[in-house]
């Protein structure tokens, strides 16, 4: 399987921000997690280049940083779409048909969960319970929450974001 590697395009501003974050947490016990969380906010993901900067800044080995990054599902090694679609796969959503909704989104975008469309517009994640079980099945597009989603509604939801780009 060939995976396209997106070239790293970090800016000087981002690097300055990252260094501030590293300085802030350097002496804090257990400070690596907050650094990674804030670094992902700055860059949108945690490519090897960023991990190297963190390793140098915190005086830790790259393998340790990589080990932590790959352990937690919220840290991503690849960029996400501009519109990040998260389909809740908690039990309440699952028994109400979240898998069918996920299938439909995957078919419509022609990518699998975990992937990103070629134009960088959409990415899909099958996430753990978001705790909005009263609205099952639930999907999130960035911060927007859609509850009681049906397979029929998927097209309209996607179109809404496509239209915003047009």
């Amino acid at each position: 399987m060939s995976e396209k590697v997106v070239p790293f395009q970090g800016t000087k501003e981002q690097e300055d921000l990252l260094n501030e974050v590293i300085a802030k947490h350097k002496d804090q016990r257990g400070g690596l997690m907050p650094v990674l969380q804030e670094a992902q906010e700055i860059y949108g993901y945690l490519p090897l280049e960023v991990q190297k900067m963190i390793a140098n800044g915190l005086d830790k080995s790259l393998s340790e940083i990589y080990g932590v990054v790959t352990f937690y599902s919220q840290f991503s090694l690849v960029p996400k779409g501009k519109y990040k679609i998260s389909v809740c796969m908690g039990t309440a959503c699952y028994v109400k048909g979240a898998d069918k909704v996920l299938d439909e989104i995957q078919n419509k975008l022609n990518i699998k969960a975990g992937g990103c469309t070629e134009d960088g517009l959409f990415s899909i994640d099958a996430t753990r319970c978001v705790g909005a079980c009263g609205l099952a099945p639930v999907i999130l597009v960035n911060e927007d929450v859609y509850g009681k989603v049906t397979v029929e509604e998927v097209d309209g939801i996607l179109r809404k974001y496509r239209d915003m780009e047009a």
Partner: protein
């Protein structure tokens, strides 16, 4: 902060909050306050998702336009529990409950009720209106009347972003009492005597845990709160953090005093942004007002705390994994002993409890151990919060005394299974729990009885399953989850979960053999006895419990190659009954792979070689001509 100031704040805000406590008191309770009306709008995750923030803005605008901001108080609270009816709006002193409010209906409520003074009966939650049109109190509805709100007492009642409202409901009184009237040993003895057990999973006696940490003579100690609520379908900890964050601060300060710690950590899932935000606001306020920091209440006791965010790893709900994660590592569990109470965070004695457990603590200190132990049963004292979800009418959060039956929760509080379907089982305890069949509906729910049934309390997720749920598929769903979330450190869990999943995959795809069932049982035993942490030890519970109570369904998949619930795609076939089909073409138009053919007004046929078994034709047919078998 001194006691007099605390009492003054309490007095000042008590009347304002009092009217809203009707939800807890099971009886009419109306008291005048300085406001003519109070509009309470739920700002929990459920209602926020269905648009309550916009409604709150709309209320503010209309009130300002009509110069009513001094007369009408708008309160944004945490969760009421009835998430499926969101967004919800309550108006006091009438105590009426508007459900599924839209911007349009909000407009009517504001104009007709708030400004005009006339309750909009047609917009109220239907269960609060009698057939004669009389408005009934919310606390008398089926959903609320059997509830006993202890952990959730402030959720839906106070504004979680105002420390004054927490103080108005006896907030920080327990901390004052403990620091000035009780020794640390007294606090531990009270918690022990109350019978409080951990609400996060295992049900370990809380007071005992505290006493282990208290007797360690190692200088630095820590308290920690497990808010990494990872069980799919459970959201009570999130609701408490969102609706009553100060209770966690007060309870952790009490625990710190009891064991001799001065610093606390709350480990929250990053998936809960509103909870994190409100807890941070609460911590800042508590620090500002002297409930956190140096020399609290002038007693010489120092305590402060901070939030640490999780990053999406289910195993971090396990206590040693959580501790490893706070320390900044891969969240892998450690062997126990040593238990965290002896050697925890940064190698120091640490008391770790979950959110719901902590939320009981201040009230136990304030009201006494006997008050708490008078609720519940031998197998579990006090109350338990359940998140009811799945195939049930009233999806939401409920708090009930331990010892209530499953039937009461599902049928009375939950309103039963909708759409005339048959109740089949309830799943409790998430991926570590199991399925309880409908035949066990009258068993009293407490820690011990659930374990006897092959399930467990877990954190209190309760998913209702109906006849359309395949029990083999649901077991596979949970194994898929644990395969993904197993941290990989120990072999029985890493490989065992994968093998179990593969066997279930084999059965649901129609290739199962009878000997697979023996393998499942043998493998499950191995995993239970040899996995490092609770994740692996309990990962087989969903399979073992469904196999125990629904063996016939496993046999149907293996022997008859049939899925009785009609879920497992490989075992299904859709066909059209010739006599019933009128040739309307509805199914052919819906079919995503165009495998249905036939002339208009003549019976249609499904090409089985192309069919992807999505079921769209069955949903489209208005004449029940499409059947699944």
């Amino acid at each position: 902060m001194d006691f007099e100031t605390l009492q003054n704040i309490k007095k000042r805000y008590e009347n304002v909050v009092h009217v809203r406590q009707a939800l807890n008191s099971h009886g009419a309770l109306v008291q005048d306050s300085e406001y003519e009306k109070q509009i309470v709008i739920c700002a929990g995750t459920g209602c926020t998702s269905s648009g309550s923030r916009k409604l709150a803005d709309q209320i503010d605008t209309v009130l300002a336009e009509n110069n009513l901001t001094d007369k009408v108080l708008v309160v944004k609270t945490g969760c009421f529990g009835l998430c499926a009816l969101g967004p919800v709006v309550l108006v006091y002193p009438e105590g009426v409950f508007y459900s599924q409010v839209t911007p349009e209906s909000m407009d009517i409520i504001l104009n007709k009720h708030i400004i005009g003074g006339e309750v909009c009966t047609d917009l109220l939650y239907e269960d609060t209106v009698s057939p004669e049109g009389k408005v009934l109190p919310l606390q008398d509805t089926d959903f609320y009347k059997k509830q006993k709100r202890v952990a959730l007492r402030n959720c839906g009642v106070i504004d979680p972003e105002k420390i004054e409202e927490y103080i108005a409901t006896d907030g920080y009184q327990a901390l004052y009492k403990a620091l000035t009237e009780m020794t640390p040993e007294d606090v531990i003895d009270t918690i022990k005597a109350s019978g409080l057990r951990g609400r996060g999973g295992g049900g370990f006696p809380t007071g005992l845990k505290w006493s282990f940490a208290a007797r360690e003579e190692n200088g630095t100690k820590y308290v920690a709160c497990n808010a990494d609520e990872g069980d799919p379908g459970a959201f009570m900890d999130r609701s408490i953090l969102e609706g009553d964050p100060h209770v966690i601060i007060e309870a952790m300060a009490l625990a710190a005093y009891a064991i001799g710690a001065n610093h606390g950590f709350v480990y929250v899932r990053a998936e809960y942004p509103i909870a994190v935000q409100r807890l941070q606001i609460a911590i800042d306020q508590a620090r500002r007002d002297g409930f956190l920091g140096k020399d609290i209440f002038g007693t010489g006791f120092d305590y402060d705390m901070e939030i640490r965010l999780g990053a999406g790893a289910f195993v971090c709900g396990e206590e040693t994994a959580l501790i490893t994660s706070i320390e900044g590592n891969r969240g892998e569990p450690r062997p126990r002993p040593p238990f965290p109470a002896v050697k925890g965070l940064f190698g120091k004695p640490t008391v770790l409890n979950n959110v719901e457990t902590y939320s009981n603590v201040p009230q136990i200190i304030l009201k006494g151990a006997e008050w708490f132990s008078s609720m519940g049963t031998e197998g579990g004292r006090g109350t338990k919060v359940f998140a009811i979800g799945g195939k049930v009418k009233n999806v939401g959060l409920v708090e009930v005394p331990m010892g209530i039956t499953l039937g009461e929760i599902v049928n009375e509080i939950g309103g039963g299974v909708p759409n005339g379907k048959k109740f089949k089982a309830a799943q409790t305890g998430g991926p570590s729990g199991g399925c309880i069949p409908a035949s066990q509906m009258d068993v009293a729910i407490d820690f011990d009885n659930l374990v006897k049934l092959g399930s467990m309390m877990g954190s209190g997720g309760l998913i209702v399953l109906d006849e359309d749920t395949c029990m083999v598929d649901i077991a596979k769903f949970y194994l898929d989850f644990t395969v993904d979330e197993s941290c990989g450190k120990c072999t029985p869990c890493r490989i065992g979960t994968k093998r179990l999943y593969e066997i279930l995959e084999k059965i649901t795809s129609g290739n199962g053999e009878l000997s697979d069932l023996d393998t499942i049982e043998e493998l499950s035993k191995q995993m239970q006895t040899s996995s490092l942490c609770a994740l692996g030890q309990t990962a087989s519970n969903p399979v073992v419990s469904t196999l125990k109570h629904f063996r016939d369904e496993y046999l149907a998949h293996i022997v008859d190659k049939r899925c009785p619930a009609g879920v497992c795609k490989d075992l299904l076939q859709y066909s059209i009954i010739e006599d019933k089909c009128i040739g309307c073409t509805a199914c052919a138009r819906k079919c995503p792979v165009s495998c249905i053919s036939g002339e208009v007004k003549k019976p249609h046929v499904i090409d089985q070689s192309k069919c992807i078994k999505c079921g769209a034709c069955m949903d489209a047919c208005k004449f029940s001509a499409v059947v699944r078998g």
